[in-house]
Symmetry: C2
Subunit: 277 residues, 2 copies
């Protein structure tokens, strides 16, 4: 018998991968959660029927959502992670030498429990003494913080269900207040191929709140189209001004000093989407 | 009734897209040829069961295989295209202002005939007076040329079937001879995610023949994993030395001066594959 997992990436595109077995299926208070084991991708975390991360390609996402902001800020001592329940973002944050403390706010404790059990490659730093892991609403936590964080990383699901509020202008305003006077934040902002209007809207919203706004790109083969976007809003530091010697050697698998700079080069169609012609 | 086209990208990964209709199916002397019409991708050219190009994302491939080499060479007067039967590469080459003549050598006349009929967005320059279109073996043509071309573009299918000889060290040596004394060439060199060993071998082979060798990347959502590689071998000019004012404004959709430079930034795993640590 062959078992295949198929994801409808949109109305007309499906990605399917062969599956060895379904390791876990659960309805949490927030979403449907599954962990699959696949010969190509290794273990796969699926939330509400959408691939969140696979052991095979997770580093292309996690290194880029973490080391771009941490190497842009000259002294990222205190970091907040919103979401990121699989643990990959926390794993990358705690190994940065200038990070002293990390608060991670994940709304769904069951995602963390599944990652602890099934995704040790990602969840391996949940017990790191630098990390303060809290199960509550990220929007509420940010709203109660003021002048507190150097860097905030928003590692959310797609803008449907529990994550929808994380993609709003009002939220970016509370993020601004929660950051110190030279703080910056990064959010995952979906596919530039399939979500151009969303990215244009987010770009405009962040630009109305932060003096520096920079979209950047990576490749994530298990996400629709393979190309993925992030957006940085920063009060002072510009990520494209980082010099190669500002990138500490941490044994990256995707990221490096050249990728840091190159990630901000936007294809012409995307420049046009956000009004940079 | 719903019709879906499914491609086995490897043993454990399948990409499927909804299809409105099959416009054309044919067994040519060289390969199986089909043209599909799809709601997401527009028309799709399929050779031997592998997607070659789609109207929706072809520019991400064709602009990158053409404008990187043409803007690296300061005076690309005479250009050779090997393959490229869909016409997208020829379309991009002829609109470059310094190109005076183009020889295009496609082994399979039936691909060109299908492109003329079904893919007008790609085949629109087949009758351009700059273009000399010949139906013969590209390896033979290159072997009969000496000191003739400024730029050679190898727009082949995968290294199976008719294209296998285009991925050999012996072929790169004949390409060297066919180029003028400051000539350069580019070849499509498959997926960096799924063909790392092949890319490492090609890199070594081209490096043993050409003084300058530069791999570079683009995104092609309809190809496996979304990330795609090209390799340039050059006798004199280095593509990473091109200044922004060396990029003429030609109404690109993907490529631009920033992308020209950024495409040569390689993810760490790929640097390691080719021995650039």
């Amino acid at each position: 018998m062959e078992l295949w997992y198929t994801e409808n990436q949109n109305n007309h595109l499906r990605l399917s991968c062969k599956v060895n077995e379904t390791l876990h299926v659960e309805k949490t208070p927030f979403q449907h959660l599954a962990v699959l084991d696949a010969p190509g991708f290794g273990r796969i975390l699926v939330l509400d029927g959408i691939v969140q991360t696979t052991v095979w390609d997770e580093y292309m996402y996690h290194e880029m959502i973490v080391h771009i902001p941490l190497n842009t800020h000259p002294n990222p001592k205190k970091v907040l992670i919103i979401g990121g329940g699989d643990g990959g973002t926390a794993r990358e944050v705690v190994r940065h030498p200038r990070v002293e403390s990390v608060v991670m706010v994940e709304i769904d404790e069951r995602v963390v429990a599944a990652a602890r059990r099934y995704l040790p490659e990602l969840s391996c730093e949940f017990d790191n003494p630098k990390l303060d892991l809290r199960f509550t609403d990220g929007i509420k936590h940010v709203g109660e913080s003021a002048d507190e964080y150097d860097v905030i990383i928003i590692d959310s699901t797609d803008p449907v269900g529990p994550a929808v509020g994380l993609f709003s202008k009002e939220f970016y305003q509370t993020v601004f207040k929660a950051l110190k006077k030279d703080g910056l934040f990064v959010a995952q902002t979906e596919s530039p191929l399939f979500n151009r209007d969303l990215i244009a809207r987010i770009y405009g919203d962040i630009r109305s709140v932060f003096p520096v706004v920079r979209p950047y790109l990576t490749c994530v083969p298990s996400y629709p189209g393979g190309m993925w976007s992030f957006m940085m809003g920063s009060k002072r530091y510009d990520p494209i001004s980082v010099e190669p010697d500002g990138v500490p050697p941490l044994g990256y698998r995707y990221y490096n000093a050249e990728i840091h700079r190159a990630a901000f080069a936007l294809p012409q169609f995307l420049r046009e989407s956000i009004g940079q012609v």
